[in-house]
């Protein structure tokens, strides 16, 4: 398997995602190449998000998820995006904030951080193409599921176990399996470096999307170091080289949170569309996506108490629609009696939970240790908490505390999952604690520049 084919295949597939994303963003883009180019990260994640979501629906409807179906879906989504430019009233473009006079030291800080960020991104991209997934889940079932979907579609016998064989985590949605198998199809063979390259590209797109979404809301000398902090978190690209579904889930949920906050604070229609898309994709990546989406939405909504009911209602209406797009998969699972280890009824049963309270402390300890470890996620969470406390004290108001509360609630969601899960706790924590905190870590890191901006801002609260 040559490196040329690897690079060409992965680049080709991502070019399609990019084109699809740009077609969907058409109504929101301003004139000018540089302005449009700044949306590349958003476009790639929106393109990959929607094609993946629709491939999942196509699989449940009986189609295979191979290159032909992908081409039809991509063409359909791109066409719908272009058509929306004619049909949908073009929302007023959010004006770019007026350029503020930068002090020389601010320029130096922003430029140095941006250069460091680009250098890290370059190394990570090279590393992605040179790595085979270290996580055996990736090539043991994430990718093979996608290969079966690509060749045969959903084969009930393999998801039910009636052939004497059953996938690990048969209840998981199909987004990451479908996309990872597409990478192998585009590469033209089993070259697992394509999976790490794809995940690395999604993470780089996440950084690009964050830069675009926060641009204008955060001054450059805070924004670029903030993004460099995200890129420098050792666990981010280490896990991208693992190949599993936790990183894309965290990427989409973190962007959903950023878009939801920006929508409630600034009311830019583009970020509402972004929140909807990122929510829809997150729900289709892992089973944990849907409950985390609901939990995160509930906490972020606290910010909307000051924003008024209308923006809140719009956000709340986007979430059920995103969940409804996963309804075909949930229905298929139910019809074919496919389920995982986790049972919601049991997890909410007070007598069951009270009989296993000994699991809470080890779960808090293990998850917390990973989340605040400087060797894994640097100090994104403590930094967010400290900054939010400072802002809250200065402004004598509670809304800045909502952002660390989002992270705390996601953390305790995972404590509850480990508390109620029937599996051996030691096994569960040792195999998954380091990666289920990805969402909390990325949300923290994404919020840091926003809170830092609020801290240095002289504008009245």
């Amino acid at each position: 398997m040559s490196v040329g084919r690897l690079v060409a295949g992965v680049a080709g597939l991502n070019s399609v995602y990019l084109v699809v994303g740009y077609c969907l963003l058409t109504p929101f883009l301003r004139r000018g190449v540089a302005s449009a180019a700044s949306y590349a990260g958003v476009a790639l994640l929106i393109g990959a998000g929607w094609t993946g979501v629709l491939l999942c629906i196509a699989a449940v409807a009986g189609a295979t998820t191979g290159v032909l179906t992908f081409a039809l879906v991509a063409a359909g989504v791109a066409g719908a995006g272009l058509l929306s430019r004619r049909l949908v009233r073009r929302p007023p473009a959010t004006p770019e904030p007026a350029a503020r006079q930068q002090r020389p030291w601010e320029d130096v800080v922003a430029t140095a951080a941006a250069a460091g960020l680009v250098a890290i991104a370059g190394f990570a991209l090279v590393g992605g193409f040179r790595s085979s997934p270290w996580l055996d889940d990736t090539w043991g079932w994430w990718v093979p599921k996608g290969l079966v979907l690509s060749s045969h579609g959903l084969v009930p016998g393999l998801w039910q176990g009636s052939w004497g064989f059953i996938w690990i985590s048969p209840d998981y949605p199909l987004w990451w399996s479908s996309l990872s198998a597409l990478d192998l199809r585009f590469v033209g063979g089993i070259d697992l470096r394509a999976i790490d390259a794809q995940l690395t590209i999604l993470v780089l797109a996440f950084l690009g999307a964050l830069a675009r979404l926060l641009w204008g809301h955060v001054r450059p000398w805070l924004l670029w170091p903030g993004l460099a902090l995200v890129a420098a978190m050792p666990e981010l690209f280490r896990q991208a080289q693992g190949g599993g579904g936790d990183v894309p889930l965290a990427v989409y949920l973190a962007l959903y949170c950023v878009c939801a906050v920006l929508w409630l604070v600034r009311r830019d229609p583009l970020v509402l569309v972004g929140a909807f898309t990122f929510a829809a994709a997150a729900v289709q990546i892992k089973s944990e996506g849907a409950p985390q989406l609901l939990v995160l939405t509930a906490v972020v909504s606290l910010l909307g108490l000051r924003a008024g009911l209308r923006p809140l209602l719009r956000l709340w209406s986007a979430v059920p629609v995103a969940l409804a797009l996963a309804a075909p998969w949930f229905a298929w699972r139910s019809t074919h009696h496919v389920h995982g280890d986790f049972a919601l009824g049991r997890a909410l049963d007070p007598s069951y939970l009270s009989s296993r309270t000994s699991r809470v402390r080890p779960a808090v300890h293990a998850l917390g240790e990973h989340l605040i470890s400087p060797r894994q996620w640097i100090l994104a969470v403590p930094l967010l908490v400290a900054l939010a406390l400072l802002v809250a004290l200065r402004e004598r108001s509670w809304p800045p505390l909502v952002l660390p509360l989002v992270v705390a609630v996601d953390f305790f969601f995972w404590v509850w999952v480990n508390w109620s899960d029937p599996q051996d706790l030691h096994y569960r924590l040792s195999t998954s604690a380091y990666r289920v905190v990805d969402t909390a870590a990325l949300v923290s890191a994404a919020f840091v520049p926003l809170v830092a901006e609020r801290l240095v801002s002289r504008a009245p609260p």
Binding site: M1, L6, T111, A112, A115, G116, V118, A119, I120, G122, F123, A124, V126, G127, R130, S131, S132, P133, W134, D136, W139, G140, W141, V143, P144, L147, V148, S151, H152, V155, L158, G161, W163, G164, F165, I166, G189, I190, D191, L192, R193, P234, F237, R238, Q241
Partner: protein, 123 residues
């Protein structure tokens, strides 16, 4: 500026950069949990197996070989029930087959590694 920063980072003998860029590159194959898995033999099995086959894996170690089979034997489908198998991938478990199956044709892929076309044995 970016070039200078990148050159500086690359020149530093620090493990984070080595890990990030994966200085010791991996190949296209899986990183097996057990060393010494014959990946080339498993890839050969994928070229021999017909696309409409249903295969059973009997292997030692099982996890690595089963997972590699799921990658390389696509579009053939895996089964766990010997009665449904039309082929058996046998890896380091001798020449024997699961009860109820008899060999129709046997391909030797490597040292004690066989791909066997099977039929249900008459009882």
């Amino acid at each position: 500026m970016v070039g200078a920063v990148a050159a500086l980072l690359a020149a530093l003998p620090v493990s984070p950069i080595e890990r990030l860029a994966n200085y010791r590159a991996d190949g296209p194959n899986p990183i097996y949990d057990h060393p010494g898995i014959d990946d080339a033999a498993l890839r050969r099995a994928g070229k021999l197996l017909p696309g409409d086959a249903r295969y059973l894996v009997v292997a030692q170690p099982y996890g690595d070989v089963e997972s590699a089979a799921l990658l390389y034997l696509d579009p053939a489908l895996p089964v766990g029930d010997p009665r449904l198998a039309t082929w058996v991938l046998s890896y380091h478990v001798g020449r024997g087959l699961p009860a109820g199956l008899r060999a129709v044709r046997r391909y030797r892929l490597g040292d004690e590694i066989f791909l066997v076309k099977v039929r249900r044995a008459r009882t």
